[in-house]
Symmetry: C2
Subunit: 523 residues, 2 copies
Amino acid sequence: MTTETAYAELVARLKRSHVLGTVNGLLGWDEQVNLPPDSADLRAEQLAVMAELQHAAASDPRLGELLAELEGRDGSPAFAEASAGRPGKGTAGPAVPPYQLTADQQVVLQRARRDYDRVVKLPPEFVREKARHNSQTFHAWADCKARSDFAGYAPFLQKQLELAKQEAAYLGYAAAPYDYLIDRHDPGMTAAVIERLFAELKTDLVPLMREIVSSPVKARTDFLRGFPVAPQREFLRAVTERLGFNYRRGRIDVSLHPFCEGSGADIRMTTRFDENNPLNSLFGSIHETGHGLYEQGLPLEHQGTPLGQAVGMGVHESQSRLWENQVARGRAFWRFFEPRFRETFPAQLRAVSSDELYLTVNAVRPTLIRVDADEVTYNLHIILRFELEKRLLAGMLVVADLPAAWNALAQELLGLTPPNDREGVLQDVHWSGGMFGYFPSYCIGNMMAAQLWHQVRKEFPGLEEDFACGDFSRLLGWLRRQIHAQGRRHDTQELVRVVTGEPLTPRHLLHYLRERYLPLYRA
Amino acid sequence: MTTETAYAELVARLKRSHVLGTVNGLLGWDEQVNLPPDSADLRAEQLAVMAELQHAAASDPRLGELLAELEGRDGSPAFAEASAGRPGKGTAGPAVPPYQLTADQQVVLQRARRDYDRVVKLPPEFVREKARHNSQTFHAWADCKARSDFAGYAPFLQKQLELAKQEAAYLGYAAAPYDYLIDRHDPGMTAAVIERLFAELKTDLVPLMREIVSSPVKARTDFLRGFPVAPQREFLRAVTERLGFNYRRGRIDVSLHPFCEGSGADIRMTTRFDENNPLNSLFGSIHETGHGLYEQGLPLEHQGTPLGQAVGMGVHESQSRLWENQVARGRAFWRFFEPRFRETFPAQLRAVSSDELYLTVNAVRPTLIRVDADEVTYNLHIILRFELEKRLLAGMLVVADLPAAWNALAQELLGLTPPNDREGVLQDVHWSGGMFGYFPSYCIGNMMAAQLWHQVRKEFPGLEEDFACGDFSRLLGWLRRQIHAQGRRHDTQELVRVVTGEPLTPRHLLHYLRERYLPLYRA
């Protein structure tokens, strides 16, 4: 078998596995957007069977053979070694493959090896059980949240926690399950690195938040009522289209919890509407559009291979946050969109000045609900969740004590205590999908977004003037080249260093927050 | 392995294959309801991979082993014999299995054997190619129909025709591909049987249609404008819910061509709205509700096995037609729903009398478009398509000559010639999915619906008085017991005989049409 043939077969198999993943993704999207209330059992079965098939495709021994062959090893004994270590390390084979793979192909090979080694360690029955439990837990969460019934939800969460530890153990992380769960969302990242970054951030963020919150300047919210859904929908469509989202390869629908699913070939975003809070849906949609733009910017020809995949959730969040916050909460963005917003809602906005509207867009007010949080306090919501996940996974906190621990931290960090679990520990969907280690990505994304924002404005000093003319193409082009086109060439921290020339740091985020918010809130 | 174990494994494998089928079904539904315009390539890939996996599950040699074991045969040599003939026939094994299977289990075994023998004869590459071509052809059809471009569509149709013949050849029907295609939709039915039934129907139907059409009594259509979509949607929801559709296990959306997809656990119906034709959407939705009620009536505990599956498309259509026509075009139905319809659209219906409205509901007027046809002329649309399919499959008509042949038959049967192919040969979606042999099912369904209607009114003489009170439960209960609960116990013609005591005949349809329409159209 020639290198070309083996490589082509590897890519074909990776793409097939990707296609199965997209089917799974669509089932998940449909579950949250369309599923009739009593059809959950069938959906759980569908997801279980599909997860099993996807796992079978991703762990096919033939993939192992191809990887070994392309790495310049031969036969199955060498493959066994390969699956125990990283390519190029140890004594199992030469560091540089003897075949003439291009640099791109070597990236594919190395990332595919990492994925393969990871997936073959999970037994198919475990994958099936996990998929079924995810679906059941999602529905239990939705029910229990509606009733604010943590006790009813606890056994489902407990099982998710056990499954997460079990998964970490299969992957050789029995002693550090949280590191595994974090790395799964942000390759290369560890709990220790995050702990250091978050500690540095928290030190300056808490006083900054207090300074802003104690300011006599208060954003108006009295005019935020009576915004009908239909024009909200049209306005957010016009905004997200102008930012660059391609609706010929995507759509936006309504779900309980906003999310973005799919790949660049077919991306499904969701939002939710509130007639008394049009900014929530607008900024939520811009956030999801940031995710969508990243997926649509990944090279279509590499879909399904590591060159056509996102790095991880932290980088994904850097994209959604940059569009939502640095761009869409800025003066220049509103210079262009404010007249259009007023045209859509003339009566509702008649008695609001431009400065008042801009302050409302940048309102800072501690809230119990993460997804409603402003970008200053948002990071404190994440620090709270990181702290709790860390303790849960280390066995230092039991599920039954979670609501009390949540409430204590909410009081400490945000100065608020949830009146019930619906507005506290039950508010987020993530844990119901077993997605421990996901939350830190939001804050990593916030730090990275500010760092990218600093860099792109250094490279294009007049960039924000584009926005005032409704032109976002220069920014999008830069992100396409620097981030999107890279696929999974680099791990999270490596990518930050390559693009900005320095390691990931909370410094730029703190600087950005001070620069944007202190002038607004100085009386 | 005990009989119980083998039977349990058989059922588990059938159910797994069914779950894969439901995933495929959902992809198809989403394609027509939600798919962004440029995402068709990915969907084609998804459908191709899923079709391949479903085929692999349905043709797994282990299924063959289990079937052979349960049939009282052993080992693989006997399995080869089993796959060549029907169980209980020939000399391959005893007619009665030596194991103690219940009568129900024997039905499962026999139908599963038929399906298995059929599926193992199709090579996986063929199944994959067919699925990919179906998806491509659907999009080509939608484009070409919009432009009325038959020449652009012809190569896609030609390929579908070749694939259909190829499939028939794989199944041993090289000499009679149309019989195979018909049997695939209506088990046990042949082109010769249909030809005889249609000839008998046509003989009396054409003069009946002429008598009605030449009547001086004309239905009003002038008031059919300005019916907003939102209340149309609410009204049809109220109607279909009262007929018995369970929206906790189903939903209705909008698509270009109305259809019903899914199983009783999650059924997806579609409709389309026209502000100037509210009856179209209403009756279309009632039609799809008939399909939905059948699926929801199939025993949920047998989902995925032949005891939880529909017989075929003819029986399916008998259910949709009976609700749409015999029930919803009747006086009693309108006695209950007319006040509600008027309440929903007071201004639009102010100047229309009850008799006028009822006549409009039962308007007979030859049209070029099958899905817009009344129930008198509808059957002529089917006879036209049957005639053309028969010739195409026999090689007596080439694709290039299809538009001319269509137009000639339309003139002969309906007295109308399509002004363009969009309103002629390009109007239907079916052939773009390779579904030759499907159309006759509509007319088989019409005949069967009238025959069931005759029977149920014989059993419940005051049945229509229920409808006038908005109660459809006695009819639904009867259909549940007589048809739905039977699953695939009987073939189409056998089921008709079992339920009505006589073979399928067009006599009841002709009688019903005369009884309903002649009094209305006698001046």
